[in-house]
């Protein structure tokens, strides 16, 4: 139902209907802004990038063929903008691509029973903020926005293999920190 509605809005927006475009903005602005926040870590910059993304989307709406989802298309514009404005993101992405063939990081998936679920969840969310931007972005696209690997690959302009490796590495880092935190707590206790 929502998909049909969005398609209609896109068609109307392509013909120059600004109200339809405003509807599309309302539908996607929250996720887009949050994605920008994960990429640039500063609210004013994230706001600026998101607004620029919507302006670019409006200007390039006639080129939207519908081959990928509208959301994916918007995310792609946002990421291209971020890569242009923040070259360190591009560098970070390239580094991951180069490291792709490296050996996987083994992390033991063991956690002591009895740990508070909410507490752990909060700890993970806190640790997420300390991850490199690319890791945060890919994790967010995969688990928060629930994009497929193919879609993430399109958005981030990365091969699917690199997307998978990035997710794996990001999770491995989180696991490592989680287990370290557990060890510290055990030692204190």
């Amino acid at each position: 139902m929502e998909f049909i509605e969005e398609t209609t809005l896109i068609k109307r927006a392509i013909t120059g209907d600004t109200y339809a475009f405003a509807e599309l903005v309302t539908m996607h602005q929250l996720f887009l802004y949050n994605l920008a926040l994960r990429a640039v870590s500063h609210s004013q910059e994230a706001q600026d990038v998101t607004q620029e993304t919507f302006i670019r989307a409006w200007k390039g709406l006639k080129n939207f063929r519908g081959e990928s989802g509208f959301r994916t298309w918007l995310y792609r514009i946002l990421m291209n903008l971020c890569y242009d404005r923040y070259p360190r993101l591009q560098r970070e992405k390239n580094t991951i691509s180069l490291e792709e063939d490296e050996e996987e990081i083994p992390v033991e998936s063991y956690l002591e029973q009895g740990s508070e679920q909410v507490e752990l969840s909060q700890f993970i969310q806190q640790e997420l903020r300390n991850l490199p931007e690319i890791y945060r972005l890919v994790l967010s696209l995969r688990f928060k926005q629930e994009l497929s690997y193919q879609e993430i690959s399109e958005v981030m302009d990365m091969p699917i293999g690199t997307v998978k490796t990035t997710i794996f590495r990001a999770k491995a880092q989180l696991k490592e920190r989680l287990l370290l935190n557990q060890e510290v707590h055990t030692w204190i206790a």
Binding site: G16, T18, F21, A22, V25, T26, Q29, L30, F31, Y33, N34, L37, S43, Q44, Q47, D48, T50, Q51, F54, I55, W58, V107, S109, Y110, L111, Q117, L120, S121, Q122, I124, Q125, L128, L139, S140, F143, K144, K164, I167, F168, K171, L174, K175, L178
Partner: protein, 140 residues
């Protein structure tokens, strides 16, 4: 096999990411750029209509004042005014038949237009590089 979804820790991490609260949008987030989008949709004439209005008013007021000045001037200034006009007419007529008299005014007009165009472009470029550009560009 998808190596990413493997253990309980993975599920815990995925759940934590899913439950991560979204940052709220700043106030008036979409208003400015949606206004810009709406302005861009309008024909150029409408965008500049207020500029046209202001400039025509300035020109009309200037011409009006120029015509009204002699009416409000004291009578003793009347000969001086006439002399000034005759003097200006004499020099204008003389200038029309000399090369510098033709080239210099044309050059001055071209220079003024160029100055205005570059000034306008300069302001636009400056505004594009500042954080307040959207607010200001809306005025242009």
């Amino acid at each position: 096999m998808d190596r990413i979804n493997e253990g309980p820790l993975d599920h815990m991490i995925e759940d934590a990411i899913r439950c991560e609260p979204l940052a709220e949008l700043p106030l008036d987030f979409s208003r400015l750029f949606l206004e810009q989008v709406k302005i861009e949709e309008k024909p150029k004439f409408q965008v500049l209509s207020w500029v046209d209005l202001v400039s025509s008013m300035i020109i009309a007021i200037t011409i009006g004042i120029a015509f009204l000045i002699p009416t409000f001037l004291p009578e003793q200034f009347s000969p001086l005014m006439q002399w000034s006009l005759q003097w200006a007419e004499y020099w204008l007529t003389k200038a029309l038949f000399s090369l510098p008299g033709i080239i210099l005014p044309i050059g001055a007009v071209v220079f003024m237009i160029g100055l205005m165009v570059f000034g306008f472009k300069g302001i636009q470029m400056f505004l594009k590089r500042t954080k307040f550009r959207r607010d200001m560009l809306l005025l242009f």
